[in-house]
Symmetry: C2
Subunit: 297 residues, 2 copies
């Protein structure tokens, strides 16, 4: 028994982070399964392609963050699950389109063939479109919250985070090359890509969880600070671990591996500071940094 | 004076359809101009690509139908303009993605080079994504109606019409070829494509205009009947006029040119029947069939 407790790194709440993640992932995947149309529904091929892309070896980081933020603000996971799944559908749409031959041209994703490799380019474009559309359908049909002003606010926040001022802006910047760039230009560009392409969706996941749980202004501000540090730490860690040689602009390439590691460690610390106000309720958000960032570098 | 009146085909309301269309198009384009980000906004290239695709020689059929439906139900054009422009953004996104080399591979659209021919494939994919996202941003930020339940309902209706049960389903069906199809299979497939790929967006434009104007159930039902006949008549007319030899499945190819023309004429008649209840308010909806369908065949 003692060994099991140690293995599961019991938190002060008497609940292990591994068990927490496992439970959340099961809830997220069963909700995704319910919210996505049957693979037999006409025309079957598009629903099969959507499901294929969604049900890979995803970490489900963004929906987990959304749920953890809601819980930290006193909300219930079951209330925010549809919103969490909408965020995961949006994340998946962005991966499908990123992987296309015209963009990153990646053959593998989430441990298997990328969507266009499996279903062809046309179907991958449409499957991405369909996941983005379905995400907004889910968001517009949520029964919770009853307050429809909050619901419109949530949709507005998400569209801003994933549009040209957010994720899509970062994606555009990423595919545009600089002609004979200086070090400063490269640093600026990478910072723009990181804050828009990755951090924007991570941040809005936290914000939506908080809004739906009726968070105070102070709680929203604290989660925003946490999200900024978390998002950047997560991205730099991804860059450090990235085995692909394709990408020219990565944090380690610009700043070196040692500086990158130190930066991540500083970010982990600063991400935890704004969580103090949540007391015990913020425990899982703290643990999530350990799981998704610290344990990986 | 008499000549001018005749030229402008004055309606019983003492207002010519040409003037009506001109005014609506000006209002729609200036609202689109306001709702789309400046072409200088960072990163400029994506905003330029979005604007390039939106500001072609578009007929603005869908936003005009939305406004006309709202007016027929007693609403004001100025209240529904943002929703009308969101529909036009969605229509443009679908055209950009349809034209991509992996899908229809069209080099020209709206009288100029298609988006991917002008900005490259990667930027065209992202510009389409960005227009779809921006459309939902506009819909989620509408100040009218104050009733947010209606707003969520409008977003839900649109997502259903453009998802895999609507427009995207039609698009998927369109790119899938039948192996050694029978005449019945070809007819069935074409009917599915028409009702989903084109008619779904036309119908939801009318429905959204009506919902926002607080339409009665009877008015909604009448507009749905009108929309079904209008959408099919519009699509068959497009097929009749289509100069491209690429498409295998068109109404004239399956049913012959004569039958196609007769079908359009029958549809024009049946589209006008449900408008009777709107009395004078339905006048423009009637005239729109003449302009967008009857005058073209």
């Amino acid at each position: 028994m003692r060994i099991r407790i140690l293995q599961n790194r019991i938190t002060p709440m008497g609940f292990s982070i591994e068990k927490y993640l496992r439970e959340k992932r099961i809830a997220i995947e069963s909700t995704l399964n319910r919210l996505l149309h049957s693979p037999k529904k006409y025309p079957p091929i598009i629903h099969q392609a959507m499901r294929y892309a969604v049900f890979g070896k995803g970490k489900r980081l963004r929906p987990i963050l959304l749920i953890a933020a809601a819980e930290a603000c006193g909300g219930k996971a079951s209330d925010v699950l549809p919103a969490a799944c909408a965020i995961e559908m949006i994340h998946t749409y962005s991966l499908i389109h990123d992987d296309l031959p015209a963009i990153d041209d990646d053959d593998y994703r989430r441990g298997k063939l990328s969507c266009h490799k499996k279903f062809g380019e046309a179907m991958a474009i449409l499957a991405g479109d369909a996941l983005l559309t379905r995400a907004f359908e889910v968001l517009s049909q949520m029964r919770f919250p009853k307050d429809k002003v909050l619901q419109a606010k949530v949709i507005a926040q998400i569209t801003q985070a994933i549009g040209t001022e957010g994720m899509l802006g970062g994606q555009v910047e990423d595919i545009q090359s600089l002609s004979s760039p200086t070090q400063v230009q490269r640093e600026k560009k990478l910072s723009y890509i990181h804050s828009h392409k990755t951090a924007a969706l991570i941040n809005v996941a936290l914000k939506v969880g908080a809004i739906l749980a009726g968070a105070s202004r102070g709680e929203l501000k604290a989660l925003d600070k946490y999200g900024r540090s978390f998002g950047l730490a997560f991205q730099i860690t991804d860059d450090i671990l990235d085995k692909k040689e394709k990408r020219e602009l990565t944090y380690p390439r610009i700043h070196g591996l040692k500086t990158s590691r130190e930066k991540v460690k500083r970010l982990i610390k600063s991400a935890k500071v704004p969580l103090k106000g949540f007391k015990k309720r913020g425990e899982f958000l703290k643990k999530l940094i350990d799981c998704f960032v610290e344990s990986r570098i």
